[in-house]
Symmetry: C2
Subunit: 239 residues, 2 copies
DNA sequence: GGATCGCTTCGCTTGGGAGCGAAGCATCGG
DNA sequence: CCGATGCTTCGCTCCCAAGCGAAGCGATCC
């Protein structure tokens, strides 16, 4: 356990892994830039992560594309970030427009996070289309219909249960749950397909298109052009 | 993220955290022994873990009892161990009777792991009393009845869904899923209450009592006095 | 085929932190 | 009170590994 944690425990490697949490594959040079270290240093780090099977690599011409070796690694990183967000003492950190974009919406390996991800999860729970606990979640009959309207046919999946499993993932900026698991991944993919959201270059942040604002408002009653409600205001609105 | 991972990444601290994954609280001296370091070294480590809020402490007389700060930390450690078990290259490790006991059955924070934990999960899934996916799981009507017979009244819980959520947890010795989440915790607690299993001193291993062997056979068709079936033998038996 | 680019290997320096012994500070027993 | 126990703080040593510059190797472009 110590070896794996130590690999993640180095700042440069943590930056690399955080970048790869995007789900996409990056070249060694891109990752060196993201980690803010020189090429030789990054190369050594990538070799270590590769040897420990945390990463996988594909050679393509003179580029080497690195990616996370498995969803298991992504989950581990998620859980570490969740602990880091909740358990570490709060600390000053400067804001930038780049940070703002990440706060609004970003990918978390294969699903959506940030105010967008949390907002969707909140809406689904508030309308009883999804039931979430700390451990897991399921889609109600109402939810199956909603997802069907969005073009996600849950009944078509060959699973032992007609109800779709999903998984809560602790959002490290919002400090609340968003939707992960198979359902979260399908929803994120569908949003990309519908061009409701688009990836930003060199960042895990996603941009919401005008079509997306329309879609999210219609489907989930979400309007992310407004600043996020505080926890207190949210409770008052619910009451 | 790097800071939290670095804390877990030190061998001595990893030993401490692994010991505390038991779920119980231990004194500083006990943890120093478990980590195989001197008292001053352990004290420094505990201070760091405490400052990062990974641990909590209770002063009791001249003893200081340390425990994991939250289930979130336990989950993070589980996920790191899961990656360590699956993704790291296999390596030689000597066996001991102490290891054997851990392989047979142990606690994993608040639920059961090892051959016992995996065996229970396998039996529940094979009999369609629980449905498990990679992300989550649910109890079937059949399962609700079984748990009722064991004295676990799932219907009494005030949850949004009548079905109990549970969570698969990758067993780092068996490399297969066992039952975690609220259901796993309730089941483990009930097994302790029924005196089917007992904690061993200074170890996360649990001992199965004669009553336990009887109970596990009746409830799950489990006989752990025999060596575990290989994956191949298990498939052949199922066919 | 010479220049360029992407990435790695080699050799070296440096800093952070893990570890322990000794001493200091509480708390408990008698 | 006085010694014993549990734990921490202080001061120190030592080692590991992160980092970079220079050089090497392979693929690509024109």
């Amino acid at each position: 356990m110590a070896e794996v944690a130590a690999l993640v425990g180095d700042p440069a490697r943590a930056n690399i892994l955080d970048t790869l949490l995007d789900g996409r594959a990056f070249t060694a040079t891109e990752l060196a830039f993201a980690a803010r270290v020189g090429a030789p240093t990054a190369s050594a780090h990538l070799a270590k992560l590769l040897e420990a099977r945390l990463l996988a690599v594909v050679k393509q011409g003179r580029h080497r594309y690195y990616r996370l070796a498995s969803p298991l690694v992504a989950r581990m990183l998620e859980s570490i970030m969740a602990v880091a967000a909740i358990e570490m003492p709060p600390r000053y950190r400067p804001r930038s427009s780049r940070d703002e974009a990440l706060l609004l919406g970003r990918t978390c390996y294969d699903h959506l996070a940030g105010r967008l991800g949390v907002g969707i999860a909140d809406a689904l729970v508030a309308r009883s289309q999804v039931v979430l606990s700390d451990d897991a979640g399921e889609v109600t009959a109402d939810g199956v219909k909603l997802f069907g309207d969005l073009g996600i046919d849950l009944a078509a999946e060959k699973r032992p249960s007609p109800r779709r499993f999903c998984r809560p993932c602790l959002d490290f900026t919002e400090r609340r749950f968003h939707l992960a698991g198979a359902l979260g991944a399908m929803l994120a993919r569908r949003c990309f397909d519908l061009r409701w959201i688009e990836r930003r270059r060199d960042s895990r942040a996603v941009a919401i298109t005008p079509m997306g604002h329309e879609g999210f408002r219609n489907a989930f009653g979400l309007d992310l052009r407004q600043p996020p409600a505080t926890e207190r205001a949210r409770r008052e609105a619910a009451a």
